[in-house]
Amino acid sequence: MTLQIWTWILVAITFSIYISIAIWSRASSTKEFYIAGAGVSPLANGLATAADWMSAASFISMAGLISFNGYDGSVYLMGWTGGYVLLALLLAPYLRKFGKFTVPDFIGDRYYSNIARSVAVICALIVSFTYVAGQMRGVGLVFSRFLVIDINTGVIIGTIIVLFYAVLGGMKGITYTQVAQYCVLIFAFMVPAIFISTQMTSIAIPQIGFGSTGTDGVYLLDKLDGLHKELGFHEYTSGTKSKLDIFFITAALMVGTAGLPHVIVRFFTVKKVSDARKSAGWALLFIAILYTTAPAIAVFARTNLIETVSNAKYDELPQWFSNWESTGLIQFEDKNNDGKVQYVADPEINELKVDKDIMVLANPEIARLPNWVVALVAAGGLAAALSTAAGLLLVISASVSHDLIKKMINPNISEKGELIAARISAIAAVSVAGYFGINPPDFVAATVALAFGLAAASFFPAIILGIFYKKMNKEGAIAGMVTGMLFMLYYMLKFKFDKFGGGTKEDWWFGISPEGFGTIAMLINFTVSIIISSFTPDPPAEIQDLVENIRIPSGSGNAHNH
């Protein structure tokens, strides 16, 4: 069977599973729509959180990024997993005890202020919209390469599927489709990795395989370091970025992860505080399976790529090369007209450009795996993109219908009215996301860093102080969030978008890149919050009681009756 038929079959099967789950788990109340009725088991929530978290970027791009950056790629591995330790230890149990529907709910109530609530809503909307645009684009990319249909048609199909189960099922529908999507994506990620690891090292476990010897008896990593040196690239196992920058980027990604509203809100969906802790543990375990495999894939793919193309005759290259060449994601220009591919670091003589996004998608083809495995990767990429998109869309719709309409504009809205409002805002959000998928703004790549930076600069300090510092008041929290956010926006606009006079690498403050600046903005937020709060009145007694209350785990069941 051809690759296309296999892909159609696997996509059709997985999509019909998602749709059946959506019909089976329709939401009938706002509590079900926002937090799945707070009745999800820790294991199911762990699976759903893992799928929610692992986006098109984790599935498609991350291994490729590591493949091209070597050690420098570690920032993503440590950053995007270490954040879960912070979530589990510092946020999830207390937010579950607090027990409302959204992150702005916590900020608004804890800081007894609708201004604080509005700032939180704005942050949640910016973070989620920047993130969701990339997901819809990922859906389009997979469709266009594997099913050979127009990239825009792919985006529209993806939009309709998400629309169907997010609008119908709300959090309840999303949770159980995410459980299914995790299974699809992890299977799709692991099968080729195990195949290739066995092929290259005769060890089936990729995590061990990439530290072993290849068929020629040389350690794979030593060989790759050698190949890199020969071709003029930096050594694979050591980096090019400064230590300080690596440190700050890792910290910004960790803290940003812990501050992302679509991740935090998943911990509202379990029954009790101890379940929130447990589901954080399950979530990281399921995430770690993919995250420890990705660096192995990176090494396999990099070695395979160099060995296949370097100094090979262009006419004799395998079929996958021309397949990807036709998508424009691989480009070859025979500069010295010798009919061979020179793939080297020096841009003057280098003749090959490889887009890093294709490494995971092309890897099974490069390793000559059977068609069904290649098709599986396509289905996995779609599962990763759709599950994250759905989680983000829910945050957007809850921000509008719950935080804006119910809590601020029209508190008297009926349960039924709020549910309708939630569904309408979900439809609007999906449509906007679909639009961005078809007309992607150029700044998508840059704004993912912005999303993490903003989450780190705004939510993380406000929530941590809200739990661990009883005397933190609204003046401090609002001032901290606003300054943190403004610094982050300023730095990003200056160095990524050339505003405010722009600047180059030499002008970075303390040598810290815009990606790592979230850590600085977070520290600014903490400092401003604490200084301002010491000059302004303490929070009212009932707020201090609330803080005492969220610190003890018992009695979380009642917190929902509000």
């Binding site: 570690s74 330790v85 230890l89 196992t237 890792t250 802790r277 954080a280 543990g281 770690a288 018992s554």
Partner: protein, 84 residues
């Protein structure tokens, strides 16, 4: 449940957090970034040790840390009769 009891509970919780987050810092920021070059002189099979911590070891330890925390807190909740 008296106030003194709750204070003690909270203090123990903070102590656990301090210890676990110290380990969290050591395996990622210390081993994976700050002293990565020094550790890279040590080999673990085909891995340089610093590189291994940055791309594998830190993640394994993160998972273990959360499960240790779950265990510790479940015990603590029981001791202070705060479990549900």
């Amino acid at each position: 449940m008296t106030n003194i009891h709750l204070k003690k509970y909270w203090k123990t919780n903070l102590k656990y957090l301090g210890i676990l987050l110290t380990v969290w810092f050591i395996v990622s920021y210390l081993f994976g970034i700050i002293i990565v070059n020094e550790l890279n002189t040590i080999h673990l099979g085909g891995f340089k040790l610093g590189f291994w911590f940055a791309q594998q070891g830190s993640i394994y330890v993160f998972v273990i840390l959360i499960f240790v925390y779950i265990k510790l807190m479940n015990k603590l909740d029981k001791k202070y009769d705060l479990n549900e």
